[in-house]
Symmetry: D2
Subunit: 150 residues, 4 copies
């Protein structure tokens, strides 16, 4: 499992969600499966922030790549109506894949709720892996700076 030693200052982007009642379960806290949804919100908002999705395009065009891996480590519980800050960065761009790191923090208490990652593979129209395009690398390099591993 990856070592999420990332500090908050490693993250140049964040977005927020507020926990919905339907996202909790009968145990009284946020269902762990909900975090995959939060991670995805973080990913999509990050890409929009960098201009890497096209909001007037078809949804199919909005999604650069296919999710091939996901992991999460849960550090503390979140409850109904908590505001969670989702910090997002692209930590690595390989040949055909790239990886987001995500850190979910309780906005009020500052407690880390979850750390995680999403790995995607860039695909052509026939769902074959292809090299992450150069213009995407440039935009991400510009935003992430030296913290980006290539």
């Amino acid at each position: 499992m990856k070592n999420f030693s990332d500090q908050l200052h490693d993250y140049g982007f964040s977005t927020e969600v507020r926990v919905r009642l339907s996202e909790t379960d009968a145990v009284g806290v946020v269902f762990f499966g909900t975090y995959a949804h939060y991670f995805d919100i973080g990913r999509m908002d990050y890409l929009a922030h960098l201009g890497l999705n096209k909001l007037d395009g078809a949804v199919r065009d909005l999604i650069p790549g296919l999710v091939v891996g996901q992991e999460a480590q849960f550090k503390s519980s979140a409850r109904y109506n908590d505001v969670l800050t989702i910090f997002v960065r692209i930590a690595t761009i390989g040949k055909t894949s790239y990886t987001f790191h995500v850190k979910v923090v309780n906005k009020r208490t500052r407690a880390t709720v979850a750390n995680g990652s999403l790995t995607l593979v860039w695909m052509d129209d026939k769902q074959r892996p292809i090299r992450v395009p150069e213009h995407v690398r440039e935009v991400v390099r510009e935003f992430e700076g030296d913290a980006l591993h290539e």
Copy 2:
């Protein structure tokens, strides 16, 4: 609101779900919004049972019409791991619309959990309402018999 006096013998089709932990909320029972999902499972399984969806087609083709109305009345609570029987019928076919009645029953206790309806409008490729096709009416008439209102 419609009068759901429908008795169980009015229903010629049923399918089942088992309540998932993620479908309950922090109050400890099934979140009311989950029932719209259960109704939809009932609808899709009913259509498949009558051969009115094409499992090898595109998803877009699977969906005869657009949901324009939904209602539900909640009679008792359901809990994690309960098996629910979803009874489904098409009660009415109008000119361009048709309406499902749905009754959700706790399989073990036989208690009615929810009654509801879904109304759809048949659409052409440009999302304009058109008459429900005759072959669909015939299949539904055959299945529902005299209970069908046209």
Copy 3:
């Protein structure tokens, strides 16, 4: 089905959601069952706005009453990343029940996406219907004014 002739000026409260990718379905638009979740967000935020939930209490205490009815009419489709404004009012307080009206509007286009209602029954600790407490009626009367039906 109720007549949702309510105009926007009837609504004294609104909150917002932004459509998540996971809330759309394979047809490409927001899954109709998602609206029950949006309605619930509207309800809970409305109650919080009027001070009628206690954020430091147990979740069980946060929920004044049990949802016994829900209906929705869908007027136009919403898509990924659309910002939706959820207008909420309490339209009626009966002896033991009360009813929210909800109107979901596309923030950018101003198109009405859905109208709906949620009806709840006030319960005592043993889940028996009891009269909606007077202090709740007063707070809602104060906020809704003459538009409230009692």
Copy 4:
């Protein structure tokens, strides 16, 4: 990331889900976040199969431990109405934690759809990690045999 070289014959238990329309997204395939829900169904059904949850107890009692880690690798896409077999095993029991391996397979095509794991920590009433009880270890040992790592 763990090496999921597990073969199917390593798994002594499986359960099934059928993909719901609401679990797909606008891209047309199962939303990756849905798999956390499928994993959880696998986990809960496995525990029930071994008699390690008590269906007549409070939900809080049903959940032996808190999920502290989750990971998934996605191998192929699943679509609406696909039947998925969820193979589940407990692969490791540590001092206070235990780990499920999960393999999701398309029932018809036999294609692997996803591999993953869930790690939980056993907690006392005050949410402090404690040793996994001996009777639980025994039941799991009995079922998993030599494949179990302790």
